[in-house]
């Protein structure tokens, strides 16, 4: 193990990790918004939009992110839509994440009994008000374990971004292996980077799950991962 090499090149990993965090964060926030929107459309059964949402969810859940990225990055320019690597990564991650988040919210919403919705309506709330103020707060507590699992899943999925020429952690590792043949050092730093990125998230998730459970309305059911 060449410590000198690690000392010299670890800043590259830090840079790459920073970029991964930024893109993952933007992607996750957008996914949550899209997921929320899609689950509302599904619950409120808005015609036409509901069909579009269903098609989107099936398409996004049944195809790999890598293929979605290739299509965005290499396919779309032929239609005159040229996206930068970063935009591509964010759009791809959001396209994938949105449907997973939507499904997570849906399981939460399904767990809230219809009586809640009906009571809200009979008290004179509109459908949107009932949904926002009565159904959602209860649903989110139930969804939290799955939402957390999705966040970890999405951060893990960022590892394929090197395929669309984004200088992420995988890209740096592959570069260092290719240029200097320092396989061990490059791989070690790669593994450590992902541990540093994901271990805290995983621990925070466990903590949040326990809190939600402690509050008494969190369903402790299984976490389905991706």
């Amino acid at each position: 193990m060449d410590m000198e090499f690690i000392r010299n090149y670890y800043p590259l990993y830090v840079e790459a990790a920073k970029m991964t965090i930024v893109i993952a964060l933007i992607g996750i926030i957008l996914s949550l918004l899209i997921g929320l929107l899609c689950s509302m459309i599904k619950k409120l059964e808005i015609p036409v939009l509901k069909t579009i949402v269903n098609i989107y969810i099936e398409l996004s859940r049944n195809t790999p992110l890598l293929i979605q990225l290739f299509f965005l990055y290499f396919g779309l320019p032929k239609l005159g839509i040229v996206l930068s690597s970063e935009t591509c990564a964010i759009v791809g991650l959001t396209f994938l994440g949105g449907s997973y988040m939507a499904e997570a919210f849906r399981t939460g919403i399904d767990s809230v009994s219809d009586i809640q919705l009906e009571s809200g309506l009979s008290l004179g709330f509109t459908r949107w008000q009932t949904f926002l103020h009565i159904v959602m707060p209860q649903a989110i507590a139930t969804s939290i374990p799955v939402l957390c699992a999705n966040v970890i899943f999405l951060i893990k999925e960022t590892s394929v971004f090197s395929a669309v020429a984004l200088a992420d952690l995988m890209f740096v590792a592959k570069d260092l292996i290719g240029i200097y043949y320092k396989t061990d050092e490059a791989l070690l730093m790669l593994v450590l980077s992902y541990l540093v990125l994901l271990l805290p998230v995983s621990l925070i998730c466990t903590w949040i799950e326990r809190r939600a459970r402690y509050a008494g309305f969190g369903n402790t059911g299984t976490v389905s991962g991706n």
């Binding site: 099936e58 398409l59 859940r61 049944n62 195809t63 790999p64 890598l66 293929i67 979605q68 290739f70 299509f71 290499f74 396919g75 779309l76 320019p77 032929k78 239609l79 970890i152 893990k156 999925e157 960022t158 590892s159 394929v160 090197s162 395929a163 995988m170 590792a173 592959k174 292996i177 396989t183 061990d184 791989l187 790669l190 593994v191 992902y194 541990l195 994901l198 271990l199 995983s202 299984t222 389905s224 991962g225 991706n226």
Partner: protein, 225 residues
């Protein structure tokens, strides 16, 4: 040029070649799934062990698999094996090793949760009726476990199929690589080929995964009722 791009898919044996390419990664998924199934059942039984150390080790294994992106594991095995063991693993073999390692952990966790979800009175009633341990497991516990496992098992298979698309990044010649060859070969005749080729690959993956996720959803509903 744009509207003629789609024809590139049907030139010569292009369409067939794409499917053959997809089969390469599907085969990796199927082999890994088969191995994970066998190893995962064993793993699941080990995970229900009462021994604290065994349980702790299982937990560590599961966490490692859950936290590390599959692509990182692929890199570790593909590049690491070449350097340390001196063996030049082909991309296929490296992929099968990684996906089995990953699948076994996931499968083990599924088996574990299915096993502990069977109430103890099922065992006790079985013994009460005079069945032996083997008979209880064979006729009472395993049929119920399998029923509960099936939806998540199929779900795992679709995840496996989707994740094997990563093997192109460690140099396996599969559908994306074939797609690139087709695009490069027709660079001058049909510059718009990329859109159609990647579009076709996208749809192909969907066609493979969608039926499985439907089956899984139907089975899940059946169990709930």
């Amino acid at each position: 040029m744009q509207d003629s791009g789609i024809l590139v898919l049907f030139q010569g044996t292009n369409f067939l070649r794409l499917w053959e390419g997809l089969w390469v990664s599907l085969r990796i998924a199927v082999i890994s799934m088969g191995l994970s199934l066998v190893l995962g059942i064993l793993m699941g039984m080990i995970m229900t062990s009462k021994n604290k150390i065994v349980r702790f080790l299982c937990r560590v294994y599961l966490e490692i698999v859950r936290i590390m992106p599959q692509l990182v594991l692929l890199f570790l095995v593909y590049f690491g094996a070449a350097k340390h063991l001196g063996i030049n693993l082909s991309g296929d073999v490296a992929a099968i090793i990684v996906f089995t390692f990953w699948g076994t952990a996931e499968m083990g966790d599924l088996v574990r949760s299915a096993l502990i979800s069977i109430p103890t009175h099922q065992y006790e009633s079985g013994y009460g009726l005079g069945l032996t341990k083997l008979q209880v497991n064979l006729y009472i516990i395993i049929p119920q476990t399998v029923r509960r496992l099936l939806p998540s098992l199929i779900n795992l298979l679709t995840r496996m199929i989707k994740t094997t698309s990563l093997v192109v990044l460690i140099g396996v010649i599969e559908v994306v690589k074939v797609g690139k060859q087709i695009i490069d070969a027709s660079r001058y005749t049909t510059p718009g080929a990329a859109l159609w080729v990647y579009g076709a690959i996208f749809i192909m993956y969907f066609l493979i995964c969608y039926p499985f996720s439907r089956i899984s959803a139907v089975l899940e509903k059946k169990i709930k009722d």
